[in-house]
């Protein structure tokens, strides 16, 4: 129970990524309702032993900005502050009047399984499912899906003989790093695949998905660590699964949101659109009413400007969130909810642990179940929880218990690899930091002071959650810096799609022909796109 004028301590988890690290949130609520939040280390957490990454330590910013020491989130209906009840009624009305086929329900997994279940019930009332933006699930044959849900304990990872990292643990999943280091101390060989040369690597490769099988030789004692996110390339995921099947190695897929795993399981039978497709359907008028649950499409979209334009075409945007950023400001109907740490409910982490979020508020669930009830789908919290436990296959939330891993399915079906047309007119696959193909264009062929590079985003929790970090710079290797004649302390010009941006740079140990960025660059939101660099 939240007590005013006294510190409330929540034993909670970090919403930064699918590892779901344990921590304490110390919350002080003043008599007038102003909230300040600090983070404390929970050393007894079996996931992270109290250790937190840069994002975990910045959670006070995540929870309180953009309005520092903010007022509680207020519900809104078409620009006017309203009671929560009125916002729910308005949402109900909007859903009732919209043609069912023009509705879409979207949640990436920033909330509890119980809210997710209620959201699914609501979507189900319209014959729809909850979309997660992870088009990968629909791009891969259903029989491959179970392999994507094979969690494994991070302690188990420490015992692997070989670890193949298709992610960058330093920036993407920092609390994975210590487990990899321990595996290495236990004698494991660490093989890293990606453009950044990682200190933990015994071997480093920068490969295209079709090269994995030829270049990499995992064994049955190996673990292949990759991740699934809204920009995932199906060819990459399939290549990792093929490699796992051929070698008997264990695939372990991480995801960027605290409850990505639970959300994906609860939405397993929903045809998933990619983010690109979602925006395409909004632009074409196929989607007229969009309901987003704790998911900020502006932060997720590869191209923020295009996302803004698309969202403006909706008849109704309904947002249920505790966040107070630009996206919630766009909502026609804003249903205010409690911050993540105050929620009562569970999340499923990447390992397969069912964790309690730590709070006792069911207001978010109540709003969703109230809406579902208005459309004939009754669901109380306890029955939702029971259903969640059944789907996940655990009897209770217990941070020391693991969901039984799904049996691996044979990988036989062909994969459809969707490519999207970019503004430049090039055909190229949507790729992420570990999935980038080498630059096709020769840096030497144009002027000597210019160079082209593949833009790779670090896909850190800061990027997914739109939290500002001290990282307004891009990374290049020394030979590219020399070739471009860049000077220390100066900037590099980055051009793509007719736009140019000047950025500070740092020299990093990365492959030639790559430009790494911790921020989405205004020149191109598409990771993997070719950009031109100059002094």
């Amino acid at each position: 129970m939240q007590v005013k004028n006294r510190e409330n301590v929540y034993s909670s988890i970090c919403p930064g990524c699918g590892l779901a690290c344990g921590l304490y949130i110390r919350e002080m609520v003043s008599g007038t309702g102003e909230t300040s939040v600090s983070v404390d280390f929970r050393k007894s957490s079996p996931v992270n032993a109290g250790k937190l990454c840069r994002f975990g330590l910045k959670l006070p910013v995540y929870y309180t900005e953009p309005q520092a020491h903010t007022e509680p989130q207020a519900s809104m209906v078409r620009g006017q502050k309203s009671e929560l009840k009125a916002a729910i009624s308005a949402a109900s009305e909007a859903l009732k009047t919209a043609p069912a086929e023009s509705l879409a329900f979207f949640s990436v997994g920033n909330t509890t399984n119980e809210e997710q279940k209620a959201f699914s019930a609501l979507a189900g009332a319209f014959g729809a499912g909850v979309e997660t933006g992870m088009g990968i699930y629909s791009s891969l044959p259903a029989k491959m899906h179970s392999a994507l849900f094979q969690g494994m304990s991070l302690e188990g990872l420490e015992k692997a003989k070989q670890v193949f990292l298709f992610v960058d643990p330093y920036s993407q999943y920092p609390l994975l790093l210590r487990r990899v280091i321990r595996a290495k101390e236990n004698g494991a060989k660490v093989v890293c695949i990606g453009p950044r040369h990682l200190p933990v690597a015994d071997e480093q490769f920068c490969l295209k998905p079709e090269e994995y099988e030829k270049a990499l030789s995992p064994s049955r004692d190996s673990v292949l660590i990759a991740d699934i996110h809204p920009y995932s390339d199906p060819a990459h995921i399939k290549a990792v699964l093929d490699l796992a099947q051929a070698s008997g190695a264990k695939p372990f897929f991480l995801r960027p949101f605290a409850n990505s795993a639970g959300t994906a399981l609860l939405s397993a039978h929903t045809k998933q659109r990619t983010l690109d497709k979602l925006f395409e359907d909004i632009n074409s008028g196929k989607i007229k009413t969009l309901f987003c649950l704790e998911s900020d499409l502006l932060e997720l979209a590869p191209d923020r400007e295009a996302a803004l334009q698309a969202l403006s075409k909706l008849d109704t945007l309904i947002v249920q969130t505790s966040g107070q950023g630009e996206f919630s400001g766009l909502a026609d109907i804003l249903i205010a909810s409690e911050p993540f740490y105050r929620k009562h409910g569970t999340v499923l982490n990447a390992e397969g642990r069912l964790l309690s979020v730590g709070g006792n508020s069911t207001s978010g669930f109540d709003a969703l179940s109230g809406l579902a009830a208005a459309f004939g789908k009754q669901l109380d919290f306890e029955s939702a929880r029971k259903e969640v436990f059944e789907v996940i296959g655990l009897k209770e939330a217990d941070e020391f218990a693991f969901r039984k891993p799904a049996e691996s399915f044979p990988v036989t079906a062909e994969v459809e690899t969707p490519c999207s047309k970019h503004e430049t007119g090039q055909e190229s696959c949507s790729v992420s930091n570990s999935e980038v193909s080498n630059s096709e264009s020769c840096p030497e062929k144009s002027c000597p002071e210019c160079s082209s590079a593949s833009l790779v985003y670090s896909l850190s929790p800061f990027m997914w959650h739109g939290v500002e970090d001290c990282s307004a710079f891009v990374e290049l290797n020394l030979s590219m810096v020399r070739k471009l004649g860049l000077v220390k302390g100066g900037n590099v010009k980055i051009r793509a799609s007719g736009k140019t941006v000047d950025m500070k740079f740092r020299i990093s140990d990365i492959e030639n022909g790559y430009l790494l960025s911790p921020l989405r660059l205004p020149v191109s939101g598409i990771p993997g796109a070719e950009v031109e660099l100059s002094r």
Binding site: K43, G50, L57, I181, R182, P199, K504, R506
Partner: protein, 409 residues
Amino acid sequence: MSELKVAADIKVGDRLLGWAASEEVRARGASGGLVTAVLASALETGLVERVLILKKVSEFEAYPVFTSDVKEVLESAGSMHSVPVNLARYLKPETCSGKIALPAKPCDARAVVERAKRNALSPEDTYVIGLNCGGTMHPEKVRRMLETVYRLGPEEIAGEEIVKGKLVFFTKDGKEHAVPIDDLEADGLGRRDSCRYCQVKIPTNADLACGNWGVSGDLAGRGTFVEVMTEKGAELLRNAVSAGFAEVMQADEKSISVREKVNKVMLGMSEKRKAEVFSTIENGEERFEYFRKELENCIHCGACKAVCPVCTCGEDSKCTAYSSLADSYKMSLFHMVRFLHLSDSCIGCGQCEDVCPAEIPLTRLYQRFAVPVQKEYRYLPGMSDRTPPFFALKPEDNEDNEGGGCSCR
């Protein structure tokens, strides 16, 4: 057996044996519950307004909270070797209004002293009840010990204690399970690394120094040896006795000498460990490579700074101001500044190492800088109110002139 001492006779320098008057507190607290009784009485009588305690969640989990509720203080009683928190970090200008009492391991007490020097708290208003400490354990390691060495499930545990060099777990079926700490440490288990070379075992820098070393015979396990270090300590103890919360009597010579002996043995072990851990790296290039290699996995999270109980800089700090994620130095200036900053102030509490997500042995790295500097200046941070040597404007400003400046200049 000596007679019970009356409150008015308690004075600085006394070495006493004491226990809680209440049978319930004796049963709940460690070593007769004296510390719990002193904290509860301070709150009950209004000597302090709040007490900083560890609120128990389980045998392996607790978190610090300020409380004005005597019941919460009583519930916090008992050993918590598996909760290696430094309480001093929670004493901040915004939390330290009014008089406060807290239990404190030697590293907590040392951090309190250092924080007072940096104006983060008022030493006059902070009552520190020191607890002898032979070391604490990270809960992650404790669980591993239970699983691999003791073959016990965490749910079976009713309590734990360190007795005569053994880590003892008490199970709910009434049994005791003891393993020598040396054996555990030989397998990389046991105490936290920094505890193994810690230089202070009895918190003589606190207002009271309490512990079970030197308590033998009928009182073994049922009494606490307490040394009154300051007038505030005498005030605390007089208050507890006069309010009927605690009883004390003069410690006999045997108790005093056993306590000294245990302390000497513990410090000897620490010195030995220190010599092992901090063997000199003579070659400058090798030394640089050692630090570079140890720090190469740093992810720049800042947890080491956030958790450091000696650092009171907050956001406005040199270590962050002089470094940037955009830098591409072989070793970040964040660490370089912190090495320098902490060389006269690191108390070796191990918090930074506990929370480092890349498992960098940070306390060892800080102590590699701190040990020679602190030796040179004969300055052990947190043990007195002496100004840290590097705060002095000139070497000769060092108060006792014992150090005579750094010979490496």
